[in-house]
């Protein structure tokens, strides 16, 4: 005797409509647009620092902002992929990149302890401004990624929330970094990396509830 047809399957088949598969490139494009809009808004609001174009920026400006941007892109890519689940997906590479980013604050703290570099080259109020502005600048990227995850099927909401925070904090800090004229390791290593840590914590706490399904 043939097995009895499952009524739920008949119902779901009856409701079937064509769908457009979620493409990873669309998610990445969404993040790119959010980042560009953030940079454009900062350019209009504060103006971008002309130092890099004039050859006045120190090497650490390019190294720190480049590393922060790279972490943001890698985290955003990981989050975009998490919308389409699959057994076997790993984020090991991103962990190493985060460890590389940690070199910046560790170096800044070491120099501060050994030479007082941070104290000489940086004002705490400027640093605090960059910390707040960098964190707030990540809101657009965070919104884009949350929107993307809600369309998808993330099966690790806590990890997805954590990496959403990393991506938003890093890309927000990078966008704000284009307007910041302080190019010392003490300033960049602490106040421009702190938004990444803060956003990661916020993402881990707040995002899972928004993307659970």
């Amino acid at each position: 005797m043939p097995p009895r047809p499952n009524p739920l399957i008949a119902q779901l088949a009856g409701e079937l409509e064509p769908v457009r598969p979620l493409r990873m490139r669309h998610g990445l494009a969404l993040v790119a647009v959010a980042t560009m809009l953030t940079i454009a808004a900062i350019a209009l609001w504060q103006g971008l620092w002309s130092g890099p174009a004039n050859g006045q920026a120190a090497a650490i400006f390019f190294i720190a902002n480049g590393l922060i941007a790279l972490v943001g892109l890698a985290a955003a890519r990981a989050v975009v992929r998490m919308a389409a689940p699959r057994v076997g997906a790993r984020q090991d590479g991103l962990r190493w990149l985060l460890a590389a980013l940690a070199i910046l604050p560790v170096t800044a703290l070491l120099l501060m302890a050994l030479e007082g570099t941070v104290g000489r080259h940086d004002q705490a109020t400027d640093g605090l401004n960059c910390f707040i502005a960098g964190t707030v600048s990540g809101i657009g990227v965070a919104a884009a990624l949350i929107l993307w995850l809600r369309r998808g099927a993330p099966v690790g909401p806590n990890v997805a929330g954590f990496y959403t925070g990393i991506a938003a904090g890093a890309l927000g800090s990078f966008a704000h970094g284009m307007s910041c004229p302080f190019d010392t390791i003490g300033h960049l290593g602490i106040w421009h990396v702190a938004p990444v840590a803060m956003s990661a914590a916020l993402g881990r706490i707040a995002v899972p509830a928004l993307i659970r399904w």
Binding site: V19, P21, A153, V155, G156
Partner: protein, 176 residues
Amino acid sequence: MIADEPTFARLMIASQGGDRRAYTVLLTEAQFWLERFFRRHVPPAQIDDLVQDVLLAIHAKRATWDETRAFLPWLAAIARYRWVDHLRRVYRSSESELGNHDAPADSEEEAVLARMSLDRLFVQLSPAQCNAIELVKIEGLSVTEAAMRTGQSESLIKVNIHRGLRKLSALVEEAD
């Protein structure tokens, strides 16, 4: 015999395009696959509910499968996610024994299933966490009964369940 990876992928591509007949076959095959996937880790009386839950999830999230990737790892990830949710919900079941109704299967199917099975998640837990979850969440013992059976205190059983489920939740995609 349950459908293989290429068959599932072909059916899913047609289903995403709106082919209802292909979708009926896909969901029916997915139902068989899921029944086998869950059979040693869910009491028989709860398997139907869990399978239905996963079928609904497949329907709601069918756009998240990309034809450039394999179908079964996608299905297994959704099944694991729903299973961990199910473990959280279930505190006690009237079923105390798990079925052992192994269906015959060819070796390739077994190999694919084994790579993504729920056992791969359990090996990541400590023995105490594994015991606590199996006894309370799967076999349906009370916390007191599980404590007596294992020699752990009741509070330790609760802690092990809590930490074990949290770890399982984090491992849904990674443990393969």
